[in-house]
Each structure stands twice: as C-alpha cells, then as structure tokens.
C-alpha cells in the first residue's frame, strides 16, 4: 500500500470539491467522504490487487475507466463514480461474477453476510444475462477444518493474498489460466496435504461462501439433546469481545454475561471459561520458563532458549512444518483449550462423580486451527478425546440464532464454578501480547515477591498492533530461591501473524535472537483476529476487540493468574505442583516435524 504523505491536493468526485492527500487512491478519498464505490478484491488488510474491476470509475480525460482501489489521485482530478458507462460496467461485471457463482444463497453460511450478494442487491441486478452452469463443477473439499466450495469462488484472491502476505504460508494459489483458473493448492493437493496451518484467515477474507469452517453445530446439538450426555462447554477469551458483532452490534462490545447465559439457554449442562486454563497455562508455562532459565544459567545444561509459547494451534502447525529444528524451544504446555479438555474428563469428572465417557466436551474458539488441534492424536491424555467438538464464534452465533435467542436482550449470567473462575490475566490471552503480559505479571512476582513495576499492572510495551514488539524486565532483589536471576535482564518479544513469527524464528535459527521468551500468535491481533471470528475483519475492528479485552481485564478484581483461587484449589486437590508428574501427564505434550511443502 502506498503511504500517504501530507501534501494536500484538490480533486473533484461527482462534482464535489474534495481535499486529498498525495499518495491516496480514489477509493481512499471516496471512503473518507462517504462516497460508496463497490469493491470485491479490495481488503483493508491486503495489498492492492485491482483484479475484480468492480470499482472502475470514470476519470476525466481517460479513455478507459480507472479502478478506484489502485489509482492514485492527482491534482485537479475529476472523477465520476456514477456515469452511465460506470453503471453499465459495474452491472456487467457483477453479472459476469454471478454467472460463475454457483450455489443457493438460502443454504449458504454466508447468506446475508456475503459481499457479492450485497452488491448484487445494491446495484439492482434483477437478471443475469449469461447462462449459469447447471451443475456443480467442483467437489466440495472438506477434509480439514477449512471447507472449500470453489463453485462459489469469484477469484478475488483475497484468500491467496492473506496466506501469502500476512501469513507467508502460501498454501493456496491460483491454479490454471484464463477460464480454467481456480484457487487451489500445489499439485492439486487438498489443504490437509499441504503446509496449510488451518488458521482460517482465508475464511475471514472471503467475500462469499467459498471458504467456510467445517460445521460442528449439528454434532453439538445432537450431544445437547442426548439426555445421557453431560455436555460441558468452555469459551475462549476472544469470543466475548466479538460475538456481539454477529448480532449487528458495532465491534468492541463485551458480552461475557450474555454469552454465558445464552450457552446455558442452549442447553449446555455446564458453562466454563477457558480463561481458567489460561491462568493455569501461566503457572505451568511460567514455571517451565524459570526452570529453563535455571538450567541454562545455574546448571549450565543444554536447554533451548528462547522458549516459545504454545497456545496458538496455527502457530504449532507452522513450526512443525517450517521450523521443526526449533521444536525444542516450544513450551511443552498444551494450549488452554487442550488443558481444559484433559481436566474436564479427569478432575471435573471425579469432582462431580461423572463417568468421563458420558461427558461431551465442547469448546467455543475464535479459531479454526483449534478444530484441527482437538483432533490431534496427541490430545487424548485423559484417556478420551480431550475436546470432542470445537465451535467457532460464528458457529456459536448460528446456534444462538437457531434457538431464536436475541443475544443482546438476554440477561447476564455467571460462569459455573470452579473452572469458570478466572483472572484478568486469563482474559488478555485473547489479544496479541496477552500471554506475555500475563506471564510477566506472574513470573516477576513469583521471583521477587513484588508486583511488576508497571503502572496498574499494564505492561504497555507488549500491547498494541505492531507486528513485533519487544520488552525487557530487569530482576532485582529476587527471593533466595531465584538469586541466580539477580540483576538479570529478561528479554521478551511478541509476534502476531506468521510472517512476523518467521522474522523472529530466523533470528533464533541463526543464533542471533536476544530473547528469552517469545510469544507467537498465528493470527493478526492474536485470537481476537482468529479465523473463527465474525466476518468482516479489519485493523479497526481488531483494535476495538482488543480494547474490549483490556477493559475486561481492567474491570476484574483478580488480574494475576497465580491469584486464581480455583487454580490454587486444582493444584491442592489434584495436580500437586506446577510441572509436577500429573501436570506432565495431562497438561504437557510434544509435537513432531512435518514436511515443509
């Protein structure tokens, strides 16, 4: 994207004199002035592509129409976004796209949230003058959490660009040429056979229903309706900060209580909070980090530093494919979802006197890679499948709508005890930098006996949306057990999106990384921008979701994981000690190398 500088110039759009900045495009200026120009291949997160051509406008003196998304403004430019030939071209292009878009709107998951449908309606496409194929041309690919129906694809390539630019995974690409073009993978492989990490960012960028998540709602309904089953649900921290968007509420609205109430009304027997195991993760992972540091500094033994977080399953898939040589740097902690799953069918079952076999463990996640993670063969340490079904935020919204509930009108309810009790440290797991912040709050206090020296416990350097953020904490006057850390400057870094993770990983691989601890989240903004979150997504939307998450943290009485009474109780009653035998059995795991193509 070109950077706009502050040199101002005058242009005219539809007869209106407007001020524009040098470097802006026609579309930028139009948007700022509430002049609607239709777009399909354009996306706020992505490089300009200029291929759908639906944003073509008339520019005085130009024989051809110019695409607003990628035409920079020049002084005295005169633009008409509504000339006869613009209207004709726009309609024709939409008709051409519709003629190749095969599928019923009424049975599509994106019905009423489809950009093609919206434009067709807005520009009054009453008939498509070109014949549509009578039958489906592509099989639906559904052997991974990402379902692809190429019959609905309009070749805008937003999925390709997000995979390439934001994630640098490059699992998907245009295949074939001309009318044979389709979006696919190398050698016609299916996604599960490629380096795809199932982050689902492609789904969030898809303007139509060509890319969707694999649906689990039917399975979950069946479980709920089975009286022999005890259905437990856990909800990730990022859900509460975004779910309302599915109900036409502007981004940034927290609906923790309404969500909890809705889950109860849907018929889940117990509603827990993944924040609980987020707190638990901090205890386990924090202990692991300090143990590694001790091994390195005191025992001088061969231990991999920096340590990487392991909460983000898209990131786990990525490191397995691309940096398998660094797997020993990865924390052995399972993600909060999987820790939860393992505890539900052991600790919770025992506590409640339930047969684990009768428990159905459901999670609501902002993530499609979580579906893959739950199906991993590693994730059966409870003796059962630790998490049976994973719903995305979008799927939960569909269930709430199917049940006829109006989310915003429901009265708040509380999570169930004990695994519904959590702290602000658990909540911020939903934002990039949150795991790091939570870890620092606890680790520093564990080592020094004092609170972190940041105002109001807010560790600002690791917050925000910069791709990579670094911070350091100097340990002074530690308790005797940690005396070896006296004066140590612990350096940490946070990366979100896999392209940023790659930069940090390359440093580690070259032996040049200055850090001790690195947090990686696969998705932009962290889980709040996950592939299972409401559509659309954009930098602004993610910022608002982040605000909601940090506000929730701010409102809570307990904001440090080690202060979570339910977690303390869990150690006393069941686990024993952090990183102890039982923890290792249930809460830790190891990952394995995968092919890198």
């Amino acid at each position: 994207m070109q950077t706009a500088t502050e040199t101002m110039l005058n242009i005219k759009i539809n007869g209106k004199e407007l001020q524009a900045k040098q470097g802006e495009t026609i579309l930028d200026v139009a948007k700022r002035n509430n002049i609607h120009i239709p777009t399909l291949c354009y996306h706020d997160d992505l490089c300009l592509s200029g291929i759908c051509r639906v944003c073509a406008v008339d520019v005085e003196g130009q024989r051809l129409l110019q695409t607003a998304c990628n035409t920079p403004v020049i002084p005295e430019m005169v633009v008409n976004t509504n000339s006869q030939r613009v209207r004709k071209a726009r309609k024709m292009i939409l008709e051409l796209l519709l003629s190749e878009h095969v599928g019923e709107c009424t049975t599509c998951k994106r019905n009423l949230n489809c950009e093609l449908q919206e434009l067709a309606s807005l520009y009054g496409i009453e008939e498509v003058r070109f014949k549509k194929p009578e039958e489906k041309r592509f099989p639906i690919e559904e052997n991974s959490p990402i379902v692809r129906d190429n019959d609905k694809c309009i070749l805008c390539r937003r999925c390709v660009r997000v995979c390439e630019e934001i994630q640098e995974v490059e699992a998907i690409t245009p295949v074939g040429r001309g009318k044979e073009t389709s979006i696919g993978c190398l050698y016609d492989l299916t996604l599960d056979e490629t380096v795809c990490v199932f982050c689902g960012q492609c789904i969030n960028r898809c303007p139509t229903g060509a890319l969707t998540e694999k649906d689990a709602t039917k399975d979950v309904w069946r479980a709920i309706e089975d009286p022999a089953k005890h259905v437990v649900v856990q909800t990730a921290p990022a859900i509460r900060a975004a779910l309302a968007e599915e109900f036409d509420v502007p981004p940034g609205e927290r609906v923790t209580g309404k969500m909890t109430a809705a889950l109860k009304m849907l018929g889940f027997d117990t509603v827990f909070d993944t924040d609980f195991t987020a707190d638990l993760t901090i205890i386990e992972e924090g202990t692991e980090l300090l143990t590694r540091l001790k091994k390195a500094l005191v025992d001088k033994s061969d231990v991999s530093i920096p340590m990487f977080t392991s909460c983000s399953p898209g990131w786990i898939n990525y490191i397995e494919h691309h940096y398998p040589d660094l797997l020993s740097n990865l924390s052995t902690c399972k993600s909060p979802q999987q820790m939860f799953g393992a505890l539900i069918k052991t600790y919770y079952a025992q506590k409640k006197g339930l047969d684990p076999d009768s428990i159905v463990s459901v999670s609501v996640m902002p993530c499609t890679a979580k579906k893959y993670e739950a199906d991993r063969p590693e994730m059966t340490d409870s003796g059962y499948k630790d998490v049976d079904y994973v719903l995305t935020t979008r799927e939960l919204a569909r269930m709430i709508k199917q049940a006829g509930l109006d989310l915003m009108e429901i009265e708040d309810a509380e999570f169930d005890a004990p695994m519904g009790i959590s702290t602000g440290a658990g909540v911020i797991f939903g934002a990039t930098g949150g795991v790091m912040e939570a870890a620092i709050r606890t680790a520093y206090e564990l080592v020094t006996g004092r609170e972190v020296p940041f105002e109001n416990l807010d560790i600002k350097p690791v917050r925000g949306m910069d791709g990579i953020r670094a911070a350091s904490v100097t340990i002074t006057d530690p308790s005797p057990e940690w005396s070896f850390l006296d004066g140590a400057e612990v350096k940490v870094a946070v990366a979100h999106t896999l392209s940023n993770a790659r930069k940090l990983m390359d440093e580690v691989r070259e032996g040049k990384s200055p850090y001790h601890f690195i947090e990686v989240m696969a998705c932009p903004g962290g889980c709040l921008g996950g592939g299972g979150q409401p559509i659309p997504t954009a930098p602004d939307i993610r910022k608002k979701r982040a605000q909601a998450i940090y506000t929730e943290d701010d409102c809570l009485a307990l904001r440090k994981s080690h202060e979570n009474p339910a977690v303390k109780q869990l150690y006393e009653e069941f686990l024993g000690e952090p990183n102890g035998h039982k923890s290792h059995e249930l809460l830790h795991t190891h990952y394995t190398e995968k092919s890198n193509w």
Binding site: I51, R53, L65, L96, L155, G178
Partner: protein
C-alpha cells in the same frame, strides 16, 4: 514505400558505439525523443519518453529488457530481426543501457524460439570477446552485459508487466500501473522494456540522426516498420514499409486479389473491410502492430472470429473479471454462431455491451483488445453472421 533500413547491413560496432558514447547519456535520450520513434510492439508508446522516465528514475540498478516474446498471431518479423539483425539488437540495447544508466540487459525470448537461443548466445559471447559487451566497453568505463531468459509459452507475457512477473518467476499476469516499469520494474528496479524492432531502430538513429530517420513515415508515425504479411496473397513474408502506407498499396505489393478482409495489428487489432482499404497504417490510422493477415472472399469471417476468440479465451491470464469471463462468454456465443445458430437482437446487444465493458475495464491490453475482432467483424461482415 518499401525500404531496407532495418534489414540493411549493420553499422560497424566500433564506429557506432564510439559515436553513441560521444554523446552524454541524456543527449541520446533527447535524440531518440527527437526521432519520434515509437514502440514497435504495437502500443506505440514514445521510446524516448520511456527512456527518459527510466533515466530519471532512482535505483541502485536499472535494467534494459528486450521483449522478444513475439506471440501476436500472424507476426514473425522479430524472428527475422533476431536471426538477421542480432547485431543491431545488441547495439540498440547497449545504447539504451548507456542512455538510461543500466548495466544489465535481458532478452526475454519466446519459448517457441528456443531453437535460436544457442546462436544468439554465441553472438553475445562473441561480442563480449570482442569487447563490445561486458566490462569497460571500448575503454569508455561503461559496463553492459546481456543475458537470455525463455518465456514459457504464455501470450500475455508479451505485456510488459506480465513479462516482468514472469521474469521474477511468478505467474505471468499484468501488474497494476502505476508504478510503471520505468519506476519500478524487474525486481523493483527502474526498467526499460522495448520490443526487438524498437531496439533495432536505434543504431540507424545514432548513425544518421533524427531528421534522416523521420524522412519516412508520417508526423506522428515516424520511420519505417516491419510487417509480417500472411494469408491470401501471392508473396507473404516480412516487409519493411513506411509507416502511413495504405492498406491497398500493401495488398498490391504482396499480390492480394479478391480481398475480403485485412486483420491489422494481430488478433486484438482492427479488421478492415474493402471500404477501408484506402486508410493508412499508422498511429493516425490503423495502429500498426507487426501482423497483417489477409482473407479473400472465400473466407467466412465468423470462422476467423472463432479462431481469434478461442485464442483469447485460451490466453487470458484469468486474473481480472472482464477478460476472464468476457472472453469466455464471447467465445461461447461465437461458437454458437459458427455452428449456424442465429442469436437474437437482445443477445447481440448484450454481447456488444460486454465487448465495450471488456475494453474499458480490463486490467491490461489483452483484455482491453480481446473483444476488438468481435466488434469489427460483426460491424463489417454482418452477412457472415
């Protein structure tokens, strides 16, 4: 009107290069501007201006690329130049390098011309050995070398930005403009891309000056041009003619009688019917690509059109909607017509509207011209429909 500037024997290297190096680089740019030379690939962009933009663009490196991806249906004139005027091409590229401040030349050769690659490489090696390419050419402290790259067979890679994408190892697809190659071209560096024939005109201009060059041609179409003439005529072949020559004169020259249609400028060019044969071939008249295809009265123009449309449908890169879907829809319709189906007025109206939309909204020259034969042939040869 028939000339032999381009096809004439070469200027001697030492003399030519010494003469070129006696100018300041910017003076060469000005000389080319003065000559009125326009790109010989078909679009006709003023060459001097292109060089000027590249010369003035900032970059750690610059590239001079020769577009030898001669893929326009019915054109084979660059083949003749590559075989018989290799020296002029090398000279032209070297002088372009000197003028714009580039030390790297790349000849992007059509995949189907792979058979001439060895000879071409021998030639550049020879010139390197003789000190006309490589380091410190003629002791003038100017380095310029030429390497070869092969196209993989896509027509669209003749479009300059698709060519660059292809050179970079990506799918051959047109880029957004701006930035133009002169600002950000190959690997992001300022790049001059010219057709084989454009470069081959440069030595003549250096040797004889701009005025002499302009002696032939018209005001806006200076010099001579090679035409690949094929089809229903007695003497098909490559001809060097003044720009501005009339269609009829050309037909007489090659012995074409009973002519029904002349396709000027390739598949996306114009289809002239008898009433238009007195028009000139130049930027003021029928834009001169390299290709002239002649069809006599025994030919059904719908068959011809079907051939063109199937070509475009096959060669559309598939990225932009109007070209990808438009070529497909037009081809489907033309196949139906060719099979004898009569389309109703409403359908024809839709197709003409589609043709117009393809022209004004497609991303690159391919899509912008792909509907031309449909419109021309429908307008000029309606009886065949």
């Amino acid at each position: 009107m028939q000339r032999s500037r381009l096809l004439s024997p070469i200027c001697e290297y030492t003399e030519l290069l010494n003469r070129a190096f006696s100018y300041q680089p910017q003076a060469i740019v000005e000389l080319i501007k003065d000559s009125g030379l326009r790109g010989r690939g078909g679009a006709g962009f003023p060459t001097g201006l292109k060089w000027d933009f590249t010369a003035k663009a900032e970059g750690k490196k610059k590239y001079v690329i020769c577009n030898a991806d001669e893929g326009e249906p019915g054109t084979f004139k660059d083949r003749v130049l590559l075989l018989e005027s290799t020296d002029k091409l090398i000279q032209g590229m070297t002088i372009a390098g000197y003028a714009v401040g580039s030390n790297y030349g790349i000849i992007y050769l059509r995949a189907e011309y792979k058979w001439m690659l060895n000879d071409l490489m021998n030639k550049t090696d020879e010139m390197k050995n003789r000190g006309y390419l490589g380091k410190n050419i003629l002791g003038k402290d100017f380095d310029f070398d030429i390497e070869f790259r092969l196209n993989a067979g896509a027509y669209v890679c003749g479009e300059e930005t698709a060519l660059i994408e292809s050179l970079e190892g990506k799918r051959g697809e047109a880029r957004n403009k701006p930035p133009y190659p002169a600002q950000e071209g190959y690997l992001g560096y300022p790049t001059v891309i010219n057709n084989v024939e454009t470069f081959c005109n440069v030595p003549y201009i250096i040797c004889h000056g701009a005025e002499e060059f302009k002696k032939f041609g018209t005001d806006k179409s200076c010099g001579t041009k090679l035409f690949s003439i094929s089809g229903d005529c007695e003497a098909p072949g490559v001809y060097e003619l003044d720009l501005g020559s009339k269609v009829q004169d050309m037909l007489d020259l090659v012995g074409s009688r009973n002519t029904k249609a002349v396709q000027i400028g390739g598949a996306g060019g114009a289809t002239a019917s008898e009433k238009d044969f007195d028009k000139p071939i130049c930027y003021e008249g029928y834009p001169p690509g390299g290709s002239i295809m002649i069809f006599n009265k025994s030919r059904n123009m719908v068959h011809v059109l079907r051939n063109f449309m199937e070509f475009f449908e096959e060669e559309s890169c598939g990225q932009c909607t109007p070209c990808r879907e438009g070529t497909k829809r037009l081809t489907d319709a033309v196949i139906r017509i060719d099979r004898g189906e009569k389309l109703n007025d409403e359908e024809m109206k839709t197709l003409l509207e589609l043709a117009e939309v393809m022209k004004i909204t497609s991303k690159c020259g391919l899509g912008q011209t792909a509907a031309n034969p449909f419109v021309y042939i429908y307008e000029n040869f309606r009886e065949d429909f």
